[in-house]
């Protein structure tokens, strides 16, 4: 039997790539920093689980949208894997953010009409 997914989770999943690109477009970050950072930046609107975050980061890295490097931060026990946007990632962020704004404006109007 097919597993039913929470519709809100599905909606978030659709926005995940854009959110990650936008967040990493500000400054490079590691997985453990992205989770709380993204939740804070979206006022709790995008609280991810590790099961969504790491596969998404690895997928984007494989696509060439992100690039990673190991950095030894001061006070850290082990080196951390920092992700940075590539030029292709920057380009993708521009395209997706324009599409998102257009979609969000359209949906906003539609939702206002239906309320």
């Amino acid at each position: 039997m097919a597993r039913r997914k929470d519709p809100v989770t599905e909606l978030r999943r659709g926005a995940l790539e854009l959110a990650l690109l936008a967040f990493l477009g500000r400054s490079p970050c590691f997985g453990g920093g992205i989770l709380p950072g993204l939740a804070e930046a979206t006022n709790g609107g995008l609280e991810l689980t590790e099961g969504a975050l790491y596969p998404a980061l690895h997928r984007l890295e494989k696509k060439g949208v992100l690039v990673s490097e190991w950095r030894q931060d001061e006070g850290a026990i082990r080196p951390r894997k920092y992700y940075t946007l590539t030029d292709a990632g920057q380009e993708r962020l521009t395209i997706l953010s324009q599409a998102w704004r257009k979609l969000a404006d359209g949906l906003e109007g539609l939702l206002e009409d239906s309320e």
Binding site: F30, G31, G32, G33, T49, E50, G51, Y54, P55, H58, R59, K62, A76, I77, R78, P79, R80, K81
Partner: protein, 191 residues
């Protein structure tokens, strides 16, 4: 105790990534271990609390495996024995050697296909199934042609391949790639 919990968590993560190349496993485990450290430090050393709030490591490992695909070694491990089991599970062997464990070989072939598909993904699963099915079908055609030749040339008709055997061999052979594909996890093709 705390270190043991972390090690156990990372071991389970690695187990979930079973089938991925060692390099991918090492890098992913190192990345998540470093992020786990950050959370443990932030929580004031509450290892059980942090581990309990973290995603199930086996599920996380499987999700990562779906992104990276399986390693070459793992795929070869399942692909190489497949044709051998295909040959060994051909029913006509039992007519010549009554003690030949045809059904056991077929069972092993099915297990190989299902297990291989679950670990390496649906495309490789279908290929493993095809590698078992191919030799069985080729052997059946070759045996049919050889027996037909013997019948025509010397009139010896004691050995024949009946319709029932052909049906069983075709059915059991063709179902293997289909099962491999259906049972296979969604795993990305290897990079």
């Amino acid at each position: 105790m705390s270190q043991q919990m972390i090690d156990d968590f990372l071991r389970r993560l690695r187990r979930g990534m079973g089938g991925c190349s060692g390099k991918v496993k090492d890098a992913s485990v190192m990345e998540i271990a470093a992020d786990l450290d950050v959370r443990i430090q932030a929580s004031g050393g509450d290892v059980p609390g942090v581990i309990a709030s973290f995603e199930d490591p086996v599920a996380l490992g499987r999700a990562l495996r779906a992104v990276h695909g399986s390693g070459v070694r793992t795929r070869l491990l399942y692909m190489l024995p497949a044709p051998l089991l295909g040959f060994a599970s051909f029913p006509a062997f039992q007519s010549v050697f009554p003690a030949w464990p045809v059904n056991l070989c077929l069972l092993l072939a099915i297990i190989l296909v299902l297990r291989g598909a679950a670990i390496t993904g649906r495309i490789t699963g279908a290929i493993i199934g095809g590698l078992v099915a191919g030799p069985r079908i080729i052997l059946m055609i070759a045996t049919g042609v050889a027996l037909g030749f013997i019948q025509e040339s010397i009139g010896y008709e004691a050995w024949t391949i009946d319709g029932g055997t052909i049906f069983v061999v075709l059915l059991t052979s063709l179902m293997l790639p289909v099962f491999g594909f259906l049972v296979g996890a969604r795993v990305s093709p290897p990079a």
